[in-house]
């Protein structure tokens, strides 16, 4: 694949490049940004500030809760043992199991949603530059059309320009 990008040593110039790209009409979603740190304060990509992860967690918790509540109760009901006059299903202990399962559900769901949302767990695409972890900030676009190319390079001039043929 082709890509054109520049590496910046400081967030400011990176931010400027992004603005420039936007100005020349590149959609935010097409701009590829990689940074060694969150640098959330710079809001490289305002569109990414929204997430539904906490609701996923709640859902996961719900599933865990149901499981945790049914596992002991059902086994106690379906395979009852004489408890010497005590109730077969013991609510209080089951609450403990339920609680643990709920939390487990929530946590697992969070991780799964993270993997999904952050597109983790897949092979590294060619379009990546190890220097990002040398504290460079990468700004660029994938598969620029030849028409765009000069403007893009113009927009990215602030940094050390690179292209992937």
């Amino acid at each position: 694949m082709k890509a054109t990008y520049a590496l910046y040593t400081d967030p400011e110039s990176a931010k400027q490049a992004i603005v420039a790209l936007k100005e020349m009409g590149v959609a935010q979603s097409d701009i590829v940004i990689m940074s060694p740190e969150p640098l959330e304060a710079y809001e490289f990509d305002p569109s990414e500030q929204e997430t539904s992860m906490r609701w996923v967690a709640v859902l996961g918790g719900g599933i865990g809760c149901v499981f945790g509540a049914s596992l002991p109760s059902l086994t106690q009901l379906l395979w009852p043992l004489n408890t010497g006059g005590m109730p077969i299903v013991s609510i209080w202990p089951n609450l403990i199991i339920t609680f643990e399962m709920t939390m487990l559900g929530a946590i697992v769901a969070t991780v799964i949603s993270l993997v999904r949302a952050a597109r983790l767990g897949r092979r590294l695409p060619e379009f990546y530059d190890p220097q990002v972890s040398d504290n460079k900030i990468l700004v660029g676009i994938a598969n620029p059309s030849d028409a765009q190319l000069p403007d893009v390079e113009q927009a990215l001039r602030g940094g050390e320009l690179k292209t992937i043929p």
Binding site: P38, Q76, P93, E100, D134
Partner: protein, 457 residues
């Protein structure tokens, strides 16, 4: 954003992963051998029977469960603390969190093994796992041991993930510097991390949610551990204060453990500038707080028992207060209450070494506390005819020693493969705002810095 600082941080924190001295192998070897000793002792005990321990009637529980409670307690250092610190977003948390969370993960693994060693027939432990077998038999969910089973496994999984997630960017960082097999491994571990704003943001919010979820789990775990005792009608076990009492104690010993670990890391990994006096100051204050809390719990527990003057509980009370177990009791009070009070309440004494000394005292004291909870109560049960006492057998001692060795071993290996301080979080902490910070005047390099690269650890 400052390139020089960032790369210096990167270099400092990656140093242990790069150089490996002979000392390191010797350490690992020794620790491995001692750990091995514990396993050997366990095998020997399985062969001849649990009778090799000092356990007897009436003291059916001994060192194994004391250490179980102890390590589960230690495990409350990490995740709980770092979760709280994350939520209140205390900036000084950044260098601390990972080594704290690592303690949790390892302590849980060790603590979780001890009940198995404690079993009379460990090879049948799978009876505890709820799975549909042909006999239509399920574990008994009424048993506090089952609650333990669930709670500890939940906690272990949760805190492992909690430890793992923030490591991903660092893995990516190492991936980009490594070659060959290492690159593949770290590449796999970094699950294709690129550092896009989306990834960063999702990671941050995931950590937020996990932090919220994991605190109640941590609290529940040690509460349930306390239920192992509180659910039995044994003198001085059957108590409502046990839940919070244990949780407080756990965090207490956890912080102490964390302080000791940090002090060692600081010295060995040359992290003086990352784990500074400030951190020990903060943790010291926390430790002092917990010490007071612990003292409050002990007082209210003891007072209630004493005032209630229950026939069956008083023998235990007096045995620990003035009787055969009194020495342990008073040493415990000294270590857990007096010593921290002296060392930590005073700004001058709350130095790094002061904190470490106090922490060592607390770890000892908290171990004694668990001993005093388990043994005296079992020695003095309701029927005086059955009273007895307990003396550990050699496998119990061997296993106990090896648990500490195992902790050190796991930690040593951990710091060898993973930066013990979260690099990206630390960097992130160094420049919160858009406008770059002024760079201080260049100063001459301290002599130590030069050879640092060569003989790291």
């Amino acid at each position: 954003m400052n390139l020089a600082t960032d790369s210096r941080i990167t270099a400092d924190l990656l140093r242990p992963l790069l150089g490996t001295s002979g000392k390191y192998y010797v350490t690992v070897g020794l620790l491995g051998a001692v750990t091995l000793m514990g396993l050997v002792a366990w095998g020997y005990q399985m062969y001849y029977g649990i009778g090799l321990t000092g356990l007897n009637s009436p003291v059916f529980w001994g060192f194994y469960l004391i250490n179980f409670v102890f390590w589960i307690g230690i495990s409350h250092a990490g995740t709980l603390i770092s979760a709280i610190l994350r939520l209140i977003d205390a900036p000084w948390r950044r260098p601390v969190t990972r080594c704290a969370e690592a303690i949790t993960a390892f302590a849980l693994v060790i603590g979780g093994t001890l009940p198995l060693i404690h079993l009379g027939r460990p090879w049948l432990f799978f009876y505890l796992i709820p799975f549909p077998d042909g006999r239509g038999l399920w574990p008994n969910f009424r048993s506090p041991l089952m609650w333990d089973f669930f709670a500890i496994n939940t906690y272990l999984l949760a805190s492992t993930l909690f430890l793992f997630l923030p490591m991903i960017p660092d893995f990516a960082l190492i991936r980009d510097r490594a070659t060959g097999i290492r690159r593949t491994i770290y590449g796999a571990l970094s699950v294709g991390w690129r550092g896009t704003p989306k990834q960063w943001h999702r990671l941050e919010s995931a950590m937020q949610i996990m932090a919220i979820a994991i605190i109640p789990v941590a609290v529940s775990v040690h509460t349930i551990v306390s239920f192992d005792f509180a659910m039995a009608v044994v003198p001085m076990w059957h108590s409502t204060v046990f839940g919070p009492y244990f949780v407080a104690g756990a965090i207490f010993s956890g912080i102490a453990g964390l302080i000791i670990a940090m002090a060692i890391l600081r010295r060995v990994l040359r992290l003086e500038q990352y784990l500074t006096a400030l951190h020990f100051q903060k943790l010291g204050q926390l430790l002092l707080l917990m010490s007071l809390l612990w003292g409050y719990f002990v007082f209210s527990e003891r007072l209630t028992i004493w005032y209630g003057n229950d026939n069956h509980e008083m023998p235990v009370f007096w045995a620990t207060f003035t009787g055969e177990y009194a020495p342990f009791f008073w040493v415990m009070v000294a270590c857990n209450f007096v010593l921290p009070l002296i060392l930590l309440s005073n700004q001058k004494l709350r130095t790094i070494s002061g904190c470490v000394v106090a922490s060592c005292g607390v770890v000892l004291g908290m171990w004694l506390e668990r001993f005093l909870i388990v043994v005296p109560s079992l020695s003095y049960r309701q029927l005086p005819y059955t009273w007895g006492s307990y003396m550990p057998g050699w496998p119990e001692i061997a296993v106990m020693v090896s648990t500490f060795a195992a902790m050190a071993l796991l930690y040593t290996l951990f710091v060898k493969f993973i930066p013990i301080i979260s690099i990206w979080e630390f960097k992130d902490g160094t420049h919160p705002g858009p406008e770059p910070r002024p760079i201080a005047e260049p100063r001459t390099l301290p002599a130590r810095g030069a050879e640092a690269a060569g003989e790291a650890l």
